[in-house]
Subunit: 350 residues, 4 copies
């Protein structure tokens, strides 16, 4: 059995991995850490877990000698870089949810940190070279041996999976990619705010952070790596009144001579070994509800022939493939299990 610890257990990201670990045949939750609610059973905070997981919250600041195989750091930016080193030294492998380990050198991190108004100096720069970007569809082999994983951002998962085959195969220009992204409100986490107050959000959708959303860094970084040349992305984050789900509509100018059939073939080839990516054509009727509660990414691949534009619509559950689902997929890989273990679930419809 894989012994798993969750740090930041009481946020939506923590609760998501707890739910998944409960259903995993070869993993066991041994400790739940947080900075608040110490001593309270997790099921008192989240009553849906009562009878299934009643572990009390432990103090993240207290020494912990429980032997652990994997630590999930379901924590915001800046926490993982403080704590990961000690966990690694104790022999655990670490999967961090934040931006702390999504970049592999101090310069790339500094660029990201600056954009989100954080200190550009990383607290543990020596760990960056060994970190792996936790998107299995792009980095499966590196993840198999990884000790430290930077789990990707939710929007980023949808955009990168949606555009990677196109930029890899020179199907679209790299200088005018547009990512028009819409998310349910669970993406904002459990912290209350006037803009997420139920009556203020009911029957309301809006664009936000137009001045710059942090996920654009990793999207450009990963797409550039896939393309082998710099990719430039215009990114728009938008909130819609639902709980779970991301729909990202992605546009690129089709390169001269590229035919619609080439596009679909490229996507099929790129994802032929990826259990969690499902491909659809423009006439198929799929939506976020069809990935809700599951680890799948549904991609609708389309070419607008009137304007020679590639258009891909990517659907994920922001808390699953966009967060805890990818984290569990990464755990499977770094622990040598089949990638899909504990994850081949359909969600519930409707």
């Amino acid at each position: 059995m894989i012994k798993a610890k969750v740090i930041g257990a009481t946020g939506y990201g923590g609760i998501g991995i707890i739910e998944l670990l409960l259903g995993h045949p070869q993993a066991q939750i041994v400790r739940l850490d947080s900075i608040n609610d110490i001593g309270t059973p997790i099921s008192a905070l989240y009553p849906h877990l009562q009878g299934l997981c009643d572990l009390p919250i432990a103090n993240v600041k207290q020494p912990d000698e429980t032997p652990v195989d994997v630590v999930f750091m379901a924590t915001p930016d800046g926490v993982g870089m403080q704590l990961a080193g000690a966990q690694l030294q104790q022999g655990a492998r670490v999967i961090d949810y934040s931006g702390d380990f999504r970049f592999h050198n101090s310069t790339a991190y500094a660029d990201y940190a600056t954009r989100i108004g954080r200190d550009p100096a990383h607290a543990a720069p020596e760990l960056l070279p060994q970190s792996v970007y936790g998107l299995a569809e792009l980095h499966r082999e590196d993840l198999r041996g990884a000790r430290l994983v930077g789990n990707p951002g939710c929007f980023a998962v949808s955009c990168i999976l949606g555009l990677a085959p196109a930029v890899r195969n020179n199907l679209v220009g790299l200088d005018r990619l547009i990512c028009d992204c819409k998310t349910g409100i669970s993406g904002a986490g459990k912290k209350t705010a006037p803009t997420f107050h139920y009556p203020a959000r009911y029957e309301n959708m809006n664009a936000y952070k137009l001045a710059g959303h942090q996920h654009v860094c990793e999207i450009e970084h990963e797409l550039s790596a896939v393309a082998g040349a710099p990719a430039s992305v215009t990114f728009t984050a938008q909130a819609v009144p639902m709980c779970r789900g991301i729909m990202s509509t992605l546009y690129g100018a089709l390169c001269a001579g590229v035919k619609p059939d080439d596009v679909l073939a490229a996507y099929r080839e790129f994802y032929k070994d990826c259990a969690f990516v499902r491909l659809y054509g423009p006439a198929d009727q799929v939506g976020t509800v069809h990935v809700r509660g599951s680890n799948f990414c549904n991609l609708v691949v389309d070419v607008d022939r009137r304007t020679d534009t590639l258009r891909v619509v990517a659907y994920i559950d922001n808390l699953m493939k966009g967060q805890a689902g990818s984290a569990l997929q990464n755990m499977n890989l770094i622990c040598g299990l089949p990638e899909t273990t504990g994850l081949m679930q359909p969600g519930r419809y409707p």
Copy 2:
């Protein structure tokens, strides 16, 4: 492996049991029947199943010699009584979702049928004596050997579980029970209607079928059996703008001399061996979201001392404990498995 067939596979009740069977360690879906969409893979109708269950729909009218252990009849009133006999003769056990087998003699059925405007004559009255009402918390022992189960109505599950301990222990009068029930819209099934059109239902709640809802029959029938005397119920069905969830608020006049502590003790005793019933006090914060996607029934047990009224708030997922979850629980019992097999899941929060 238990070989399972689903008749009426393409409705919400069918899809619910398919999802559960996919996660059950000892069951296998061998056939999906319907009267429409013959030959179409279920995953073309319900894309969330793609890659997990791609069986084509078979014609329910075509002879079927597939050996089957359990048949789930996810069909409306009047279908099960036509088809159950043949299935039983082939050696299968049958779990029927409708009212066809919730009553155990022709008279009780006729009363029910009349109220819902159906022919009072049952098409297979000889099967009624062997049918068992599929609420494990009340009929566990009978279910263990059952060959034919009448799966309960969704509202009925919440009302019966919420009031059974009170009527069993003479805590409340039997002549003025009130069941004020609210349901999400998935309870209406997948058939479109103006009243379930999205814009018509958005930000709208209303009472319906005030003249009489069919579930009141089985509620009175079961509560009377538990009490050993006739119970009389005023029942109100109400629709609220959400998808899954039932909240039933149940009222009874407290019998003279009954103390609040007696009430809670009676509930604890009654459900002490029931894994899926969780009890709460009036200060606990639970809601339908805490049972969404799971087979649990959460009961808040309260006494309004100002008016000497018992008040119980029962929460279930209408498609789980209210339908497919109970059906799987019943399958476990009739097949001799632990009652909770494949069902100890928390749902996903938020």
Copy 3:
């Protein structure tokens, strides 16, 4: 032109009366007061008002010699009693949204205050005798000359209007009235809280304040006055995932010999001069959406003959007839205008 001032202008109750005053042909907003956001235009806080009302917020603590005819105190319990005296002295009439002026003597107020955990001593007991309970359908004549109005609670409006004709005409017993009330989340106001965080509330309904909701005081008080004998109410507050709307399902034991036709006749007679109360039978399809954005109260009047129970379903918009709409109706009455001025609007469907 009636000169109107709103104190507590930046809450939902303040914004509601601002919206209505903008459409009133004989009223004019002259000042908006609050304790926060001083100097900020109301339209910067509520962008839907831009170009329609751009008044800056004034400091409620600053002396104000603007001549004012009516002051709306859209403030929580305890504020109105501090400020009303001065406003009255300056010649204004006062409509207070809170419980401060819903009771007409210190004893009744103390009972209410105790139940909600407030100081039982009223800060301006000398004003209580002149205050009028602001439900026009019961107190129209008193309101015409009133200088001080206690605007009713939202749940209370629905329960009192739904049961008054029955208790007035001895149709039901007074000792076992049940008010099962459901509200949209706007009833909680604009203050954020974990329980009103969008993801926590999505697809979630629940009962709350089971130990006692403050509105039960005024419901019992008013119904007792109408009946001429003490009425006893079991009250349940429940939250459903929508923004606006209250559905209150009201039950009473029918008195011996009362016939269904008597009931409907009594309701028709009681409300024959009330423009904002519309009556329906059990087969009519009405819901909260049909009163959303309007000042109407829709009552479905029904008798469950199986159990000899009166059942009334009352629908209102909690922010209109349940708050600002009633307040404007009261303003019309105290200013000698036709009661319906500026209020005969249908809302928008869907």
Copy 4:
């Protein structure tokens, strides 16, 4: 008083104009026509109108000699072209909601009709030259004298208003405009369909009609006219789980040398006389809720300097500025009233 008739009165577009006419100080509804529900009061179909508008539905096929000033044809494609001629001959002015009169010659209409799979031959081509495209912000002067108006499509209103100042002033290239549009479900009208069934739509968003949405024709047509050169648009329609509201995010490649300040200045100048267009910068927090129930169009104007891309987010209520609100605005203009009469309402928040 303007005497108004509504044909197609029982759809969402009909009900929208009825609601607005009820609040208009100089208009009066004299007849409501449809092909169904003949003789039924409109308030029996739409109970929120009870007591405000109880006119029975008249048969559109019956001769009607009621003198009428304005006819609103709230009818689908193909109806207006059959009926408009007779109405005009009787001296009425006609505002048609469909695509029938949005184009001003047979060729342009044929192009549109072909794309939506209709007969390319217009039934009344002789009327096309006199028809005016009913977007007051672009065609105010022509509308003042108009007898026949083609009311614009809901998506089109948002896209055209959002991009017109940019294409007029050569701020963006015309060959790669992207309109990423999201709509609430009321845009689909009142006809039920599996994809608009409440449970199927709950917590679900998706792109649709990727192969081609009819509104792209009028968007390109109008933008080309404004620009004086052909504009090419990639258009994506997306449905989100709410009732009212359109959010269109519009992208164009900034022309060389254009500075962000130029952009905002151009928008301000373009809309300086337009009461219903409100302009915002990227840091302003506005959303669809701020235009819900009102005739305003809120535009957030932004330049993504990283990629030299113009990005405009346009917010409207699809049933108001996107339909009935524009229709009333057009009625005001063709009848010589101030454009804002009966329309300066804020909607209700929250």
